[in-house]
């Protein structure tokens, strides 16, 4: 179930899979894939399972198949580090190339992957402006309305009668939209964290990700979220 959102006069759709849609331009937007994070850790002596790229591509493929966009915009940190693209296993590289070749692909450059990925289809750029909307990796507090970004891996906590529930979430207000991180190995930053809270000075709305739908709640500027203890 897709949740509708209006931003700078454009109609967007938010999906429980973690991607955003812009039907008018048949565009799918996704952020922070952090591909090859597993191998980045292995290189440092922590050989965690190498399947994160495969899993992330699988999820992306599902979303692409479902929505069939003409264009896909990746909002940065698509790879976990600069050399990430070069570490892609052959099979995964081929799968990713296949997915992207059929559509127009835009790689917004991120702080983790500041250079365009070699050998993959698509164009790389720091930012993309298309009509009323502007696509960047990191939100600019002073930006004009219509900004769509990632980087922060937002999550939000909603108190329920049986205790708080924390999920990855889209954060939005009249000026901007921040996407949750899509990558299989990505963690989250709470919406009440100052870095995120200052982007929404008058509050906003959080769309928490559920199994089949999103759960939309107001976001307060000053409310402290209940942290979840380690299991």
């Amino acid at each position: 179930m897709i949740a509708p959102l209006h931003l700078a006069g454009e109609r967007l759709g938010l999906c429980p899979s973690g991607v955003a849609l812009w039907p008018a331009r048949r565009t799918l937007i996704v952020a922070d894939l952090h591909l090859e994070k597993g191998s980045a850790y292995a290189a440092r002596g922590a050989p965690i399972p190498p399947y994160d790229t495969r899993e992330t591509i699988r999820r992306l493929s599902l979303a692409l198949r479902r929505h069939d966009p003409a264009r896909i915009i990746l909002l940065g940190d698509s790879f976990h580090d600069r050399a990430g693209a070069s570490r892609l296993p052959a099979e995964d590289r081929a799968a990713l190339a296949r997915l992207l070749a059929a559509r127009e692909t835009v790689w917004i450059l991120g702080n983790h992957d500041p250079a365009p990925p070699e050998g993959l289809p698509g164009a790389a750029t720091e930012a993309l402006t298309d009509g009323a909307l502007r696509f960047v990796h990191i939100a600019d507090p002073a930006a004009k309305p219509g900004e769509i970004s990632g980087h922060y891996h937002p999550k939000a906590t909603l108190p329920t009668r049986a205790g708080p529930v924390t999920r990855a979430a889209f954060l939005a207000d009249a000026k901007r939209l921040v996407l949750p991180a899509f990558g299989a190995y990505t963690g989250g930053l709470d919406a009440s964290d100052p870095a995120l809270a200052r982007l929404f000075p008058r509050g906003g709305r959080a769309f928490l990700i559920g199994a089949e739908r999103l759960f939309s709640v107001p976001l307060s500027a000053g409310r402290r979220a209940a942290p979840s203890p380690a299991a």
Partner: protein, 848 residues
Amino acid sequence: MGTLPELFARWFAGRGWTPRPHQLALLDAARAGRSALLVAPTGGGKTLAGFLPSLVDLAENPREGLHTLYVSPLKALAVDIARNLTAPVEEMDLPIRIETRTGDTPANRRARQRARPPHILLTTPESLALLLSLPDAAKMFGGLRAVVLDEVHAMAGSKRGDQLALCLARLQALAPGLRRVGLSATVAHPDALRAWCSPTADARDIALIEGAGGAEPRLETILPAGHLPWGGHMGLASAPEIYRRIEAARVTIVFVNTRAQAELMFQALWRINDANLPIALHHGSLTVEQRRKVEAAMAAGKLRGVVATAALDLGIDWGDVDQVIQVGAPKGVSRLLQRVGRANHRMDEPSRAVLVPANRFEVIECRAATEAIAAGELDGEPPRPGGLDVLAQHLLAMACHAPFHPDAMYDEVRRAAPYALLSRRDFDDTLRLAENGGYALSTYERFRKLFRDAQGLMHIAGSTVARQVRMNLGTIVETPLVKVKLRGGPVLGEVEEWFVSTLEPGDAFLFAGQLLRYERLEATQIIVSRGGEGDPRVPTYAGSRMPLTTYLAARVRGILAEPARWDGLPDPVREWLRLQALRSALPDADELLVETFPRGGRWFLVAYCFEGRLAHQSLGMLVTKRMERAGYGPLGYLGTDYVLACWSAFEPTDVATLFDEEMLGEDLEEWMADSSMLRRSFRNIAVVAQIIERNHPGQEKAARSMTMNADLIYDVLRRHEPDHVLLRATRAEAAGGLTDIARIGALLARARGRIRHMRLSRVSPLAVPALVEEGREWVPGGARDALLAEAAALVADATDGAEAFDEALADVTIRAQMDRPRHRVVEARKARRSRYVRNAPRSASPRA
């Protein structure tokens, strides 16, 4: 039976001691070159018995080089033994150097020990693992004659024990004639312990020597003068009685079960300490210096009492301790006996101990424990196979020492009892795990930690890897800790990072026996100052939430079911049970009582099965899965020794179906795999196997943020390589915490047609203590999404669905829920300023 050499006989006589039979028996075994396991109650002169053969040997054949190694689970114990051994050595003027080596030993002394080893080295399992990983291990241990293993009952059967067993197998390989001496308290499974201690994993290759039992301990149960609580385990209401007892005795140890409890009890006693008695505090989160100070003061007779947790539990010789007070349920007869044994070390006199139950249910538990001791029943976990994660770590450590051949290593590790039945497949998979994670996807070839040479020998892949391996040795996985530093003063100890995240500047909390005010968080520590306003909190520790089995379930059930047996019980307890009969029902011997009631925004189901914690853990998995299917929205469960408690978003109405034996064949695998129990196991296994980086307390913030969320890894691995060795190890470890399906089947069969479902409007008297127990497990399922939908709808209702981004809206979420009549329970939360997780993680789901 042999006799002591003359020098030693004179020394014994000079002390007024007679050598005990078990001391002489150990001497005999040693002279024959045989390994031996001594099982005896505390205070039986065990430690001296363990060392005697080595002292005699060195007296008769003086030589240089490391002769005897002593391994104990506690750093403090090693320090204390050194103190005690030094006395006979000096008094008999023996040419023996004794030194300790633990995590606290400074670098220059470590270097000296390697250059010129002492004759006797006292150490811990972790330090031994480190020593064996060094290139000169063969030289250091090549001439070793004996290894004394103290408190083996506390180590065997745990991951620490697995690691130690592997290290012993390595020592045996380095010094083939090595003689082992195991020292143990009395246990339920002595044969398993024999096999564990044996040089060949075979019980027949080690002699079993049993020390005479001491006089039976005398237990007394005391209650607070005022109100005896229904639930809660702090026991603070009994502080006045405890204080009176401390006054009346010479030296008392007050044992509590958790660190938070220690802090609170310490405060409570000092508040009424009119006689200004020197009472100290001792627990694992205080600094080493602080703990040493308390231990030294104790040994010097300067203290009248110590409030302590399990960190003080093991065999320290307390000299003048004449009273042991156990606050809260003892959690196991053997454990209680060992603690009781601390009081009064003279074998012939009975130890005295005072039990202080913290709530009415604990009174019954204490009664059951007392009966069990009188009946001579002992408890203890049966042995289980060694963890593959520990093996992986061991293989890395061994490669750091020297290259090895897999075939030879496979033979060597199987001489350690926990790995005696290790399959070659598991060994090979574990070796691959150690090399580079062992994944089917071969992209980590270049990131190997071990590589194979042309002869098939495994080498460590360089000094950087070796350093990383050594830094991460150990089988205990701590949750991330943060130091607590007084502004302008010393570090007081450590608390868990989670607790710090719930603090705001100005908040007050109790720690290290002081009232502190939280000021700010620096990179690796928090800064606090003395004083603080408001209701102080106490740090709780996830690490301490190891629910222990008491093995008293059957007894407790018996007591509850027969009012005739209530005669000896105190009035408040009888009254409580009568109230239970009035409000609900008493669990009958022939039926399964199941209560359901709403509480705290959730629905609870409490089943009084009395089958023991392991069975209840399994049952919890089964019942919650069925609850999911029935649409009750289960959130979690708790299995104690006595009851199974489940909580859900919606009311469980058809209870009989939940406990139906018929559907036992259903597939629980996926459900279990998603539970918090298995996730926790996986995380610990991945850290021990050195796949996930460990959290080092002193680490830079940037380094700490590199820690991967183990849950994400777990989910990805399950999907893409479900039979990976890490997952096999996880399932095996979980199986150790659960019981087999057959036992559940028997439980359900007995209950068929005899379930008594009491539908209550609130919690029953009998259920209250269960709900504050530790060991909550979370289950997967759609409940949280349902709750989110509910909450989101509530807010939409209250704001008429308007898309206003007003700050005030957020508070509506809380207020809106309070306005609903059925959620009046939330009123109580309002009093706590609506901070849902502030005081405890009771209702917080770790990964909803």
